[in-house]
Each structure stands twice: as structure tokens, then as C-alpha cells.
């Protein structure tokens, strides 16, 4: 079987067992990417052949002295292009950062690199992670590998497409309002948003700081657990990082006695607007869980209907503040021939940001502006507490919740670009 078809766990076992070398893995994936990438467009930047083969050779030679492997050693991984990679261009899918080469690594990159993976490239995303289709990338959309007329989802659409098209064995995404889970669902792969605080956000380009979280996109749940083991942990460089113990997630991912689990099905997630095909598939999955012994329990999350409005306000307000840093002074794009500093700020931001980003900055700025703060941002923060309490209540009764990830299957490219409420 071709190497690229293996799961992370299978590839790891072959490498650890000495059946394949890092060089063989690198060459297999270089070939795969060269064949598939022209039609999928999952990556914004791809590691050059020379660099990747050099890294692989370093691993194969070094292994003789190290005499031990790491779980992600020689594993081909894609990185969403809003995660800072030292010396490797990090664009955020924006003209604003077209030429940005980070002088430091994100904490998750330090953690991954300590295990010597093969970083295949930086994956495509909606500009500054704002969108759910990759159509808002300044570098053009990625394609859904299952049907190239359709979106791969977003904003981590490049990462999901790369894993589904087997252009890497696992990838990192980031999730603010569904940006890992939704593209994973669109591409038929596993996406996992860890609990806020589990994974350091240091070096993740900020969109909405109280929601952003880095997580894995993989082929299997076990693979997600392997990735998560490498990513989690307290980081003094992120003040919201949780200083807590964490289990070996691969052990939690092993088949447990499901008879001990109560599985909640929130009725609000099966409401009007849910595509019948999606509803059917989710019900099928619930039936499987019940058949193998899980206790299914209907639950209610009454504030669900308010979640989207709450998200719009909080995410855009925080984004308008976070994106104030793009002023053409310290890094990134600067508009040319400006006569004053004020003109330079305005011109840089107007030319550097795409329409979706501008729209969200406008909404967030409005919601935070004098006279509107209490009515919009503060109100949304109170409703957010109500949403949180819904979940706290329900988790007193159930161990996990099952729901559709998105209400429809992956839509076609261009189908929803004009509707600002589909952001």
C-alpha cells in the first residue's frame, strides 16, 4: 500500500519498526503533493524538495545516535498558515501578511519540532480565519477533494483538504467559531477543537482571543489523540493557558466500555433548517451508539438559538481590536507613497484587508463604539454566560453530546459569497 494512504498511527508504527525511513516518507509525500496539489490547492506554501529531503536525511542519520523515536518523528504534517513558523512565510491568507516571515515559532511549533516531524507546508485559510469556505483567502480557494466543485469548508479548509487528499497525514487547524470542526466535516475527516486553555495560543495570529484555539485535523480519532498529546500543556507565554494535568489522550481514545456512557442528544441541534440528509446520517450514528450499548438521552440547551448572534458580536468585536495592529509600521504590507502617518494607516489597511475582514472589523468597531458597547458587546457576553450554563447543566447528566457539525453538506464554491449572514 502506498505510504500516503496510511493513518498517522500506521505510518508511525512502520517508521518506528524500521520498515520505512524518513527519506522514503518524504519522497512519497513530495510525489503525492506534486500530483494532487495542482487541483486541490490545499497549501499556500509548500516546503521545497531540498529542505524536506534534508530534514528527512537528518532524521535517518541522527536516529543511529538517538536510538529512540518520538511519536511524530518523520510524520508529514501540514500547518494552518495563521500559526507562526520561524523562517517560513506565514500569510494568514491575507495580502496584509503576504511577505511576513515570523522571527519566532509558535509554542505548538516548538512542541512539534521537538519531535522532528516533516512539515509539508502551510495550509490555506479564509483571510485571518474569517470564513467557512476558504473562498475568502487572498490566494484563492481550496477544493473539496471529494468533489472539486464544492468547498472544503473553513476557515481551516486547506488543512482539512490536505488530510482528506492525503497530502499530509495530519494537520493543525485553528477554531474560533467552528473553523476546525466544520471543514473536517465537509472533507470527511476528524477535527478536534480542544477545550480553551489546553493548547497554547502563543504564536497563533489572533482573531477572537476568547474563542481561538489550535487543534488537530486527522484521519482517525486515535490520530487526533496522538497529535493532541504533542500539543497540550501549560505555557507561561499564554496567560490563558491552563496549568492543569492532562491524560495520555491515546489511552482515552481506546475503545471504552460504552455501556458506562450517557450520550446526550440536544433537541435544538435538530431543529428547522437542518438538511434531511445530514439529519439522517447523524441519526444513523446515534443508532449505532445505542446499539453498542450507549445510553441515549434527549437533552435541551435552551440558549442555542441565541448562539450565532452572540458569536457574531463577540468574535467581530475582539477581531476589530486584534486587527488594529496591522498598521504598516512593524511588519506586513505598507501602502506606498503616503504623505502622512494617518494616510499611511488608512491606505495600508484599506488595500491590505479583503472585503470579509473589512466587514467584520466594521461590525466589531460599531459594536464597541461609544454608546453601543452595553447594548451589543456586554449583552452578548451576558448571553454567553447563559450558553455556558446550559452546557454546565447538561454535563451534570451526560458524558458527551452528539450533534451535527453543520446543518448542510458542503455547498458549492460561489454559492454563498453574497450573504453576509453566512459568515
Amino acid at each position: 500500500m502506498a505510504l500516503f494512504k496510511l493513518t498517522l498511527k500506521e505510518l508511525q508504527e512502520k517508521f518506528t519498526g524500521g520498515e520505512v525511513t524518513a527519506g522514503e516518507i518524504a519522497r512519497a509525500y513530495l510525489l503525492r503533493v506534486s500530483q494532487v496539489e495542482p487541483s486541490i490547492k490545499a497549501y499556500i506554501s509548500v516546503t521545497t524538495k531540498e529542505v524536506l529531503l534534508g530534514k528527512a536525511q537528518g532524521i535517518d542519520v541522527g536516529l543511529k545516535a538517538w536510538r529512540k523515536t518520538e511519536p511524530l518523528m518523520a510524520m508529514p504534517i501540514g500547518i494552518k498558515d495563521n500559526i507562526c513558523t520561524k523562517g517560513m512565510r506565514t500569510t494568514c491568507g491575507s495580502r496584509m501578511l503576504d511577505n511576513f516571515v515570523p522571527p519566532y515559532d509558535a509554542t505548538v511549533m516548538n512542541k512539534l519540532n521537538a519531535q522532528k516531524p516533516l512539515i509539508i507546508g502551510k495550509t490555506n485559510l479564509d483571510e485571518f480565519a474569517m470564513g467557512s469556505s476558504t473562498e475568502h483567502s487572498a490566494f484563492g480557494p481550496s477544493r473539496n477533494p471529494w468533489n472539486q466543485k464544492h468547498i472544503p469548508g473553513g476557515s481551516s479548509g486547506g488543512s482539512a483538504a490536505a488530510v482528506a487528499a492525503e497530502e499530509c497525514v495530519a494537520a493543525l487547524g485553528s477554531d474560533t467559531g467552528g473553523s476546525i470542526r466544520q471543514p473536517a466535516a465537509c472533507c470527511g475527516v476528524v477535527g478536534f477543537k480542544p477545550t480553551y486553555g489546553r493548547v497554547s495560543r502563543y504564536g497563533l495570529v489572533a482573531f477572537a482571543s476568547s474563542l481561538d484555539q489550535i487543534g488537530p485535523i486527522t484521519k482517525t480519532v486515535t490520530d487526533a489523540a496522538i497529535m493532541l498529546n504533542a500539543l497540550v500543556g501549560y505555557d507561561p507565554l499564554d496567560s490563558t493557558s491552563a496549568d492543569r494535568d492532562f491524560p495520555d489522550f491515546t489511552k482515552s481514545a481506546k475503545k471504552k466500555d460504552i455501556k458506562k456512557l450517557t450520550i446526550g442528544v440536544p433537541e435544538e441541534y435538530f431543529a428547522e433548517g437542518l438538511d434531511s440528509e445530514v439529519a439522517e446520517k447523524v441519526q444513523d450514528a446515534i443508532a449505532v451508539l445505542e446499539k453498542i450499548g450507549g445510553k441515549i438521552q434527549a437533552v435541551t440547551l435552551p440558549s442555542t438559538a441565541r448562539a450565532i448572534a452572540t458569536y457574531y458580536l463577540i468574535a467581530t468585536a475582539e477581531a476589530s481590536s486584534n486587527l488594529a495592529r496591522y498598521d504598516g509600521v512593524k511588519y506586513g504590507f505598507r501602502a506606498k507613497e503616503c504623505k502622512s502617518l494617518a494616510e499611511m494607516y488608512h491606505s495600508t489597511r484599506s488595500h491590505g484587508f479583503g472585503p470579509e475582514v473589512k466587514r467584520r472589523i466594521m461590525l466589531g468597531t460599531y459594536a464597541l463604539s461609544a454608546g453601543y458597547y452595553d447594548a451589543y458587546y456586554a449583552k452578548a457576553q451576558a448571553v454567553r454566560t447563559m450558553i455556558q450554563r446550559d452546557f454546565d447543566e447538561v454535563f451534570k447528566e451526560v458524558d458527551l453530546l452528539v450533534s451535527p457539525v453543520m446543518p448542510t453538506p458542503a455547498f458549492q464554491l460561489g454559492e454563498r459569497l453574497e450573504d453576509p449572514l453566512q459568515m
Partner: protein
């Protein structure tokens, strides 16, 4: 129904340091009105006595030891600057000539 005037769009764009074209002003005015109408539903929710979400992770601020560590070198800090000179970021004149 929220209705954002042309003037309000211009004011918000100024706050956000964005120059908008006339078609953009019209488009964003319409779209912001549409989105604000949608989020107005939150006004119907009674949130009396409900605290604002202060921390997502249910924890107090974590403080680290204030110990020295290596920072970014000047060379690295300036490596992405659109314009720099003698270790400084260079920007256009703050006060334009009269």
C-alpha cells in the same frame, strides 16, 4: 429594523482607520444593517443578574515568574519592517507640512 446611515458608516470606518469607496460604504451600510437587525434578537433575552463572561476557562489569571529570558533581537524585530533605519522603524511624517 436597524438602519445604519451613510454618515455612521463613515464614522465607523474612520474609527477603524479604513478608507472605504462609495460602493463599499453603500454595501457595508446595507450589510451592517442586516446583521444588526439579526443580532437585535439578543435584546429580547432577559440577562438580569447574569454576569458577563469574564474568563472562558474558569480560572483566575495565571501569573508567571518575572524572570529574565531572551527576547527578540533588534535585528529580528526589524526583519519584517516595511522601512527601517539605524535600528528604528521608519514611518511617514506624523505632522504633514502646512
Amino acid at each position: 429594523m436597524a438602519n445604519i446611515s451613510h454618515k455612521e458608516v463613515e464614522h465607523v470606518a474612520q474609527l477603524a482607520r479604513l478608507d472605504l469607496t462609495e460602493p463599499e460604504k453603500t454595501l457595508f451600510g446595507e450589510q451592517l444593517s442586516q446583521i444588526l437587525t439579526f443580532v437585535e434578537q439578543l435584546q429580547d433575552v432577559s440577562t438580569e443578574g447574569i454576569p458577563l463572561t469574564a474568563s472562558v476557562a474558569d480560572q483566575a489569571s495565571v501569573l508567571r515568574e518575572d524572570s529574565p529570558r531572551e527576547g527578540l533581537s533588534q535585528e529580528h524585530a526589524l526583519s519584517n519592517a516595511p522601512e527601517s533605519s539605524d535600528g528604528f522603524f521608519v514611518v511617514p511624517k506624523i505632522l504633514p507640512k502646512k
